[in-house]
């Protein structure tokens, strides 16, 4: 019951603020929303410390409404409510004086409630409620400033692209149901322990579920919605489109690890898609000019890393990166938000620069975030990324190819992270603004997130240093045997990745301070700015043909309708003709009567 309460608290906030928020004074809705999320966080942590919890009640026939708090969902719960709380507090300052202030916090609380449903679910249909719920909250918040048609379009794009993935989720559930007759995750876990019933069909189910994850986590080929999702207010980007919702796909894979660890081919596919997405996101980040879109593409890239880890079988490593990424990516977004706030709404990095002198706190937030993203040794991003790199070699579904690819992407990551930092904070001032530092209510969450970005990595240090996270998560994940590297090899690799990161950071730091760029780079940047024309290709290949088909169907429908009108008119005419038989003359009636009798007797079988 207490477990259900963690979901009900923010849901209550949604109802309360949705109904009465308009009548409250400005900071009150934000304070209520933040307080409820904090309460949910404390309740969740308390339950986790007392050894987890379980909740089950009748729902659909054969499908109970079941929630489970184990270490895996507990970690996600802490990220969702913990980071969520900090971003709520930040939003109190960021959204100040917005006409939709209370509506914003109502949606925000709805999102937290739905995300908790997703995370705590112990059966796929319940998870699907949360899955769709966060999609809805995301849609509402991307289109928060719905008067802007472009923003509203972005919201719809996010929803529609996600629906493609959701279809996969639904079909995957259907196959699991057909195979095992249950959708409870705990029961499926037990059912899958023996030899597999129908491996090829099960692999299809795994692929379809992964398609759901691809949509939600913006992986290739469904990554096109996430950059556009930056239309929402910055706290939304930080909470939903960086720290929590987009990692739901990774969580789904980890939750279903018992399934994927039995399906090597599907796992291999996941790893390949993850690596490709990581490379695509990193390459696309170079050409972006919107401060938030750079970070958005970096999110796509980092999510690709997580899928790479999950694909090779290192589920706990994937979640480790989810954790560190939640801190430094939320920090980067909120720092971006502070910059946008400081410049009065300016988002174009070409009109920024030189903010190092003006923003005494935010500059440090930005620097820590960028360095953690770039993988500077000893920051959290370094440890988790290194864990992924090592995992590609030690886990059974990995390989050297993955390692090399991931290492190259790490170089790119370091470079574009520095590009972001250099363009925003260093160099000369290119805009005409009077920057002012953010208020304390926006600074303090960033202080805490910066602390997390530095320290979160120490939860899982490489062998032989202490690793707290792996044994913590182990019981909730599938057993995948990793072979251990020798101590020398392991630390040699760590040294290599540190060297590579430092090299990338230095290269980025110096390269992007140049006044003029070589021609090959400009050509690359132009392609990168358009995200390598993926949107245009989709429009040409899928969207426009579908629109044309819809248009044709509409025309056909009009034609049909005209036909039906004609048909209806003629039937009516026929009826009026028949009614004219009713002359009112008795002799006619009697004649027709007798004729009728004769016809009737004529058709009898004599």
């Amino acid at each position: 019951m207490a477990l259900l309460l963690t979901i009900l608290l923010p849901l209550f906030g949604f109802a309360l603020l949705g109904l009465f928020g308009k009548r409250m004074q400005e900071p009150l809705p934000g304070v209520i929303a933040s307080g409820l999320v904090l309460a949910s966080f404390l309740l969740g942590v308390g339950l986790l410390l007392s050894g987890g919890a379980r909740f089950e009640t009748e729902w659909l026939p054969g499908i109970p409404f079941s929630l489970l708090l184990d270490n895996l969902s507990g970690l996600m719960l802490m990220i969702v409510t913990g980071v969520g709380f900090l971003i709520h507090v930040y939003a109190i300052g960021y959204m100040a004086k917005d006409p939709g202030y209370s509506r914003f916090f109502a949606y925000f609380n709805l999102f937290i409630a739905m995300m908790l449903t997703l995370v705590l679910a112990d059966s796929y249909p319940v998870m699907f409620i949360g899955w769709e719920g966060v999609g809805l909250a995301s849609f509402l918040l991307i289109g928060f400033w719905y008067q802007n048609a472009q923003y509203a379009d972005s919201a719809r794009k996010a929803f529609i692209v996600n629906r493609i993935g959701d279809l996969g989720f639904l079909l995957g559930m259907a196959i699991l149901w057909a195979l095992y007759g249950t959708l409870s995750i705990s029961e499926l876990k037990e059912a899958l322990e023996g030899p597999l019933k129908n491996p090829s069909l099960l692999a299809l189910a795994g692929l379809l579920l992964f398609l759901g994850a691809v949509g939600k986590s913006a992986q290739i080929p469904l990554m096109v919605w996430l950059p556009d999702a930056m239309a929402g207010p910055t706290p939304v980007s930080a909470l939903i489109h960086a720290a929590t919702m987009v990692t739901a796909g990774v969580y789904l894979i980890a939750r279903s690890s018992f399934l994927y660890s039995a399906l090597p081919e599907v796992s291999y596919t996941i790893a390949v898609i993850g690596l490709l997405t990581a490379a695509y996101g990193a390459l696309s980040a170079f050409g972006q000019t919107d401060i938030k879109k750079i970070v958005a593409y970096s999110t796509i890239s980092q999510l690709g890393y997580m899928f790479l880890a999950a694909g090779v079988g290192a589920y706990w490593v994937a979640l480790f990166h989810v954790l560190t990424h939640a801190f430094f990516k939320a920090l980067l977004f909120l720092a971006s938000g502070s910059v946008i706030h400081a410049l009065g709404g300016e988002q174009d990095v070409r009109k920024m620069g030189g903010l190092w002198r003006h923003l005494p706190y935010t500059r440090w937030h930005g620097l820590i975030g960028a360095l953690a993203l770039g993988g500077l040794p000893l920051l959290s991003g370094f440890w988790s990324k290194d864990a992924i790199l090592t995992a590609t070699l030690t886990y059974p579904f990995g390989g050297v190819g993955f390692y090399v690819g991931a290492l190259l992407v790490a170089v790119l990551t370091a470079m574009y992270a520095m590009r972001w930092f250099v363009l925003v904070f260093l160099g000369e001032e290119r805009g005409h603004h009077h920057p002012h530092e953010a208020p304390p209510v926006m600074l303090w969450p960033n202080h805490l997130l910066a602390l997390g970005s530095v320290l979160a990595g120490y939860l899982a240090l490489p062998h032989p240093l202490p690793n707290l996270l792996e044994p913590f998560l182990k019981p909730a994940l599938a057993e995948v045997e990793a072979h251990h590297l020798s101590l020398g090899a392991e630390w040699g690799l760590i040294g290599l990745s540190a060297l590579v990161a430092l090299l990338g950071l230095w290269a980025g730091y110096t390269f992007f301070q140049r006044k003029a760029f070589p021609g090959w780079y400009l050509a690359f940047e132009a392609a990168s700015r358009e995200s390598f024309y993926v949107d245009r290709i989709y429009n040409a290949l899928i969207v426009n043909p579908l629109k044309a088909l819809a248009e044709a169907l509409l025309q056909g429908d009009f034609g049909l309708l005209r036909g039906y009108f004609g048909l209806g008119g003629s039937v009516r005419g026929l009826g009026q003709g028949l009614a004219r038989l009713q002359t009112g003359y008795l002799r006619v009636y009697a004649l027709l009567f007798v004729l009728g009798v004769l016809v009737l007797l004529g058709v009898m079988r004599w």
């Binding site: 009516r572 009026q576 009567f593 016809v599 007797l601 058709v603």
Partner: protein, 427 residues
Amino acid sequence: MTLAILAVFSVALTLLGFVLPPQGVKRATLLGLALALLSLLLTWGKPFAFGPYTVDGVSQVFTLLALLGALWTVGLVRSRRFEFYLLVLYAALGMHLLASTRHLLLMLVALEALSLPLYALATWRRGQGLEAALKYFLLGALAAAFFLYGTALFYGATGSFLVGTPGQGPLYALALGLLLVGLGFKVALAPFHFWTPDVYQGSPTPVVLFMATSVKAAAFAALLRVASPGVPDALSLLIVLSVLLGNLAALGQKEAKRLLAYSSIAHAGYMALALYTGNAQALGFYLLTYVLATGLAFAVLSEVSPDRVPLESLRGLFRKDPLLGLALFLASLSLLGLPPLAGFWGKYLVFLEAAKAGQWGLLVLALLTSAVSAYYYLGLGLAVFQKGEAEALPRPWARNVALLVALLLLLLGLFPGSLLPALAAGS
């Protein structure tokens, strides 16, 4: 028992009518009908026979429906002359008798016993009613003649007056065909329907309610018996003509009672589908939903105007009196057979019977014409929501009954299974 109650009340009230005030006769008639209904329910499912008078399941179900219609009619009418109530009572007696016998001669007597009062009732408003009633009477006499001829031939072919006696040969076929004509006239199957639109339009609305509900129920009971060993081939012709003519001719109607007259022809066609398997349960349920829905429609119309009701005069009824407007709306939707109203299940059950009998052609035709009927039923049902100046002076009693029946239509639509076992027990 039921027969005795109806007979005693008929005889006694004929004498007492001269001393009692009309209102007293009305109350006594209601009492008699209610007692008859009660005795019917008390002996539900228990067969009883006395000579050619046999009370079985079919008799009970269809008598129940006929008595409901009679009660409703008497309740709606406030007549200054006591004969009105008596005529309804006589007709009810005839209906019970018609539903409760297999003997053709008794059937003929019963048929006349229910027809003659109806001819008189149809003239109740004089004027135009007189012309319609005369047509009704003359055509009715023609139909009765055919029925009598059929009876004679039946005896000739089988040596028995009891329907259901197996037989063969041209004489037998001819006999069945002529019996079908006689009863088809009463239930208004095309092409023996010509009286229906004129009489429905010309008669007082409560009388039309009586004709549309009770007469149909009683005559279908007899049809069920006549058609039970083997359906005459000509029945399919009657069904085709009825559903086509009824539905198509209704499309262009501008007057509510005339429209419902055509609708009743079409419904007779649908009901006849159940004769193929002789399933009294399906037919009984259909008739029940039809009695409730069409009765409700006529009851609402009689509150709007005792005379003609052009469709325009229904506009704005919902604003004027939401209960009556909604009741008419629900009634027409149920007649159309739209779920979740009772009419849907009636149609479903009857169509199922046609499918069981393998009458696929008829079934498809019935479905198609049923779709066509949506046009005029929606026109009737939605008229009440349009802007207009409808007049209505409903009496509280009529309003309460309308509310009750509308709720019944909804409840039966939502829980059709609650009543089917009772009907099955009866038949």
